[in-house]
């Protein structure tokens, strides 16, 4: 269990690392990494236990996950440093069979259903483990996400916790659906819904930790590109990777 000061220092370290590894690997989606990094850090350092499962349904934030898995020593130094090399196990979306990755993602709208199948099986096996799924807000437009929403409620999967990274942006626009409506839909389908600031470690932890007799959706309000000032709320950083000559400038911008 890490205290808030420790989590903040890990986040600061990983934000800096993300700038460097995105630049080195010429990989996209740094802004999506930064918006969910604090959630991933809380999950991996203070929540996930043996028997739990985690699915990064917003697979495009893979590098954020790799950085956390590396920090936890689940991904080795040699694998981590292969990022960007030909033949590396670390792709821009998580590959099946990679250390620490259970389900390969990258196409949106799959994670909640796969997680539901896992949560159902945990219940059938009378296992105490929980299933955590990190969704993007844009992903709530996928019909399959809403199919899964209904299924989880119907099956009473109170061992399933979905977190929406509500950074307000999708690949080519600001979010095209109202998150308020998504909230209402999940509530009326029979979910417990909690809204939090997705960069406040206390709020993230408490929302993940509280017990519920229903499947739980945590709407985490986040900032796209959080923590690197010039990347915040800038759609371009869904695609760009930092140029090597700009690394120093971005590192100076990282919040302490």
């Amino acid at each position: 269990m890490k205290n808030i000061k420790d989590l903040k220092s890990i986040a600061n370290k990983l934000r800096r690392e993300l700038i460097i590894i995105h630049s080195k690997a010429h990989m996209s989606h740094i802004s999506s990494d930064l918006s969910c990094l604090d959630i991933l850090i809380t999950l991996y350092f203070n929540i996930l236990k043996k028997g739990d499962h985690f699915i990064l349904s917003k697979g495009h934030a893979a590098l954020a996950l790799y950085s956390v898995l590396h920090e936890k020593s689940i991904v080795s130094n040699s694998v981590y440093s292969s990022l960007g090399n030909n033949g590396s196990l670390l792709a821009e979306h998580p590959l099946y069979g990679m250390p620490g990755i259970e389900i390969a993602t990258g196409s949106l709208g799959h994670g909640l259903s796969v997680g539901a199948g896992m949560a159902l099986t945990q219940k059938l096996n009378k296992s105490k483990g929980k299933v955590y799924i990190l969704l993007s807000d844009g992903e709530c437009q996928e019909g399959s996400t809403l199919e899964a929403m209904n299924f989880c409620a119907r099956m009473g999967l109170n061992n399933l916790i979905a977190i929406v990274d509500n950074n307000g942006w999708q690949a080519f626009d600001q979010i095209l659906i109202s998150i308020k409506r998504i909230k209402r839909e999940f509530i009326s389908a029979g979910w417990e819904v909690i809204e939090i600031n997705g960069h406040d470690y206390n709020q993230i932890y408490n929302a993940l930790k509280t017990n519920s007799n229903k499947p739980k959706l945590i709407i985490a309000h986040t900032i796209l590109g959080k923590g690197v000032k010039s990347m915040e709320n800038n759609l371009g950083w869904h695609y760009w990777s930092p140029k090597s000559e700009d690394i120093e400038k971005f590192l100076e911008e990282v919040i302490k």
């Binding site: 389900i103 196409s107 259903s113 539901a116």
Partner: protein, 309 residues
């Protein structure tokens, strides 16, 4: 075929229930009227009606199989396989999980229902997926045998069923092995290669040819479309005058047989459905006949082609 599938599952669930196991599950996309009632009543813990949400159904099956369950997923082929193609690809085939996709309505058995329900391109679609085994049985007995063999396959399977009430055509034939074409007749002049329920027509054609000229036509039933035994087809086709393919698909079988016979200089005569939406109503028999697939039309065409060779 559907009853054979249902009965095999009932046996399986019964055994598990006796042992107190909960390993296998049937998920259905709201289909199974007058088929799955017994399962729902007697083995409710093994059964979920997933409702009208096929994409979710496939991914849930993937999640369950990932944690060790054997999951049978059932629907009409287009809803099972086409609507959910990416779910099957990413959440079942990519992680190579033990999910059995059971599709009902191969070819044009749902004739009157129209192209939305036809499954004449399913072999090509499923064949595109890595890690999958594609089984297309020709009669209920073969379904029962496959269901036992599928127990031991810990990777994705597409089991392609017709509908119900097909005649048993395999009483007298040899052992059925996944991956091995089944020899139904021995013959020296022509080779007929067939797949699925239409094999009953192939048997009639072979009988008709052989009743005139002894061991004239050889018949191989390719119940396993993937992995496909190219070698066996080439072996048997050698020294034949003509190879005939018979399928209720748009040429999936014809294409694989053509690959098997590449550069052998053997004439191939395909009987298949056109690469078109079949946009009229009618019985299955009528539709097939309209595209030249009936015992009589196939027989005549073979005779005509043989006369020219």
């Amino acid at each position: 075929m559907r009853n054979a599938f249902t009965n095999a599952l009932i046996d399986k669930f019964k055994k598990e229930k006796e042992k107190g196991d909960l390993n296998s599950f049937l998920l259905t996309g709201d289909l199974g009227f007058s088929a799955f009632e017994k399962i729902r009543e007697n083995y409710p813990e093994h059964f979920i009606n997933m409702g009208l949400s096929e994409q979710n159904m496939i991914s849930v099956a993937g999640g369950m199989a990932y944690l060790g369950k054997k999951v049978y997923v059932y629907s009409i082929i287009p809803f099972l396989l086409y609507r959910t193609f990416e779910q099957i690809r990413n959440d079942v085939c990519y992680p190579n999980l033990s999910v059995v996709l059971v599709g009902v309505g191969s070819g044009v058995v749902y004739a009157n229902s129209g192209p939305t329900h036809h499954a004449i391109e399913d072999l090509k679609v499923a064949d595109a997926l890595p890690n999958i085994t594609i089984l297309s049985p020709s009669d209920p007995r073969e379904v029962s045998i496959f269901m036992q063999k599928i127990d031991k396959i810990n990777s994705p399977v597409y089991l392609r069923l017709s509908r119900n009430g097909e005649p048993i055509i395999h009483n007298k034939h040899g052992e059925i092995k996944i991956g091995k074409p089944l020899e139904l007749f021995k013959g020296s002049e022509v080779l007929i290669v067939s797949i699925g329920a239409i094999t009953k027509v192939a048997i009639d054609v072979a009988r008709k040819l052989n009743s005139e000229e002894g061991n004239f036509a050889e018949l191989l039933e390719v119940h396993t479309f993937k992995p496909f035994d190219y070698k066996k087809i080439a072996e048997v086709a050698k020294n034949k005058k003509l190879v005939i393919t018979l399928e209720e698909n748009t040429g999936a079988l014809f294409e694989k047989v053509s690959v098997a016979l590449n550069n052998m200089g053997i004439n191939i005569l395909p009987f298949k459905l056109p690469d078109k939406f079949i946009n009229f109503s009618g019985t299955e028999e009528y539709i097939l006949d309209r595209y030249g697939i009936s015992t009589e039309k196939i027989y005549k065409k073979i005779k005509k082609v043989l006369a020219r060779i």
